[in-house]
Amino acid sequence: MSDLTKLTIKDAHNGLASKQFSARELVEANLQSIKEKDGAIHAYLSIAKDEALIDADRVDQVISRGEPIGKLAGIPLALKDVIFVKGQPITAGSKILKDYIAPYDSSVVKKLKSENAIILGKTNMDEFAMGSSTENSAFGITRNPHNLERIPGGSSGGSAAAVAADMAIAALGSDTGGSVRQPAAMCGVVGLKPTYGAVSRYGLVAMSSSLDQIGPMTKTVEDAAILFRTIAGHDNKDATSNPNAGYGDSLLSPDFNSLNNMTIGIPKEYLSDGLDPSVSASMEEVIGWFKSKGFKIKEVSMPHTKYALSVYYIIMPAEASTNLARYDGIRFGTRGEEMDLGQLYFKNRGEGFGPEVKRRITLGTFVLSAGYYEAYYNKAQKVRTLVKMDFEKVFKDVDVLLTPTAPTVAFKIGEKTEDPLQMYLSDIFTIPANLAGNPAISIPVRGREGKLPVGFQLMGKHWREADLLSLGMLYELG
């Protein structure tokens, strides 16, 4: 039998349904792969081996009874350690949640479980999703499977590495400013950030609530469509989830002929300075490919793009400092010896949070403080509107936007840890879609075997994930 860990969701499903192998064999193969490789990579923070095998046996029973199974039944998945799975640890990469056990299932996990998907374990990440390299985890770094001296991207670096190293068939991450797409690009996998409001965040550890979305990280675009179709949809436990977003099965089997009339926009601001030569060469190739397929390519301008990073580094820390106020040592963490309440807050938060989290809480507290609120926070909210209007304007002329996902390939471990601003710049192309709420996908550029992966990004209109997925599937067909 060929290596089961290399299968896509689709192929694994076909293999299970036609009884070429069992769900137990599929799960065991992935657990074995973790055992062999994860010592060097460290993608996982915790493994739910026993539960995974029990769940696999349950799927095998269904198959042996001759009953049909769903597309995700028996498929082993890895989840970023910000997503609640009842009874399993949830650390968010932070010491302050070291011993925390999720008391309920997040809404996405409920949906995965109802499809009988298998949860292998929880993956490493930058603490509270704050970072672009997975070097900010309190539990050690994750290495890029393509080159162990390099970062896997972040903050969903563990999920990206797990999929890239065949230690899970697919994974979920969360994306606030690029945390699904940037590590997907660095590790050579597909990463989708859905439209804001498409996927419920109930049971997701909150970082920046006006930006966070959960998204799939997969080996193929088609797999991303399968996983997205399952986790999307309204949830009355998340007030920001859209009651009217309808995502049908057409996501999974697009009509490629209908794509012919699409126009692809190339925003010139994304191809300017600072691009790694291998990234700009890859972009030319990808643009050339779409042109050769008969797509109209149109250069467009989104003049407020250059302000997106500044807007983000005001709004995100402001929201994060608010969200993380709950980690006060009273409800979470280890209380330690009895002391005065004020001291207790300082001590627990001071010892529980790592440097990047403290840095962002400090920045967020500053931009929200009396005297600075207008000049920083309110100003950023207004410029955010202008960034969003750029999107609205170009989407009158084009159907999707094509850009690089990140300005560079995966950088070396330790290269940017001393200079946070340099680290922040690696999300420069992914942040605008979060600010504007639009869906965006990172897809690996083909033909880079043996080289460090490069991803290209497609951004679409609100609720039009179908455009990104169908174009991506077409690219994958070659």
Partner: protein, 91 residues
């Protein structure tokens, strides 16, 4: 720009070391210099945007739901009650 780290770490109830304080002042000074470019943008007449989309929040009805037990995660409990530090004096 110069950044008074201590003032904001105090507001946020964060204990930081002297080394962290120095590093944060340097790092955040750089970040604040970078974000100062926003001051150049003309935003007169532009509405502030508060969410990822222009959708309205869709609230569910506020009805009682069965809650999962939180006590296993709570740092201190006594007889099924959550124990918190005293915040008021006896007087």
């Amino acid at each position: 720009m110069d950044f008074d780290v201590k003032k904001y770490t105090s507001l946020a109830r964060l204990k930081v070391t002297e080394a962290e304080e120095e590093k944060f002042a340097k790092d955040l000074g750089k970040v604040l210099d970078h974000v100062s470019d926003l001051q150049k943008v003309d935003t007169s007449g532009v509405e502030a945007m508060a969410g990822g989309t222009s959708l309205k929040n869709a609230f569910r009805k506020d009805i009682k739901n069965k809650q999962e037990s939180l006590t296993p995660n709570f740092p201190k409990e006594e007889d099924g009650y959550l124990k918190v530090p005293r915040i008021l004096d006896n007087e």
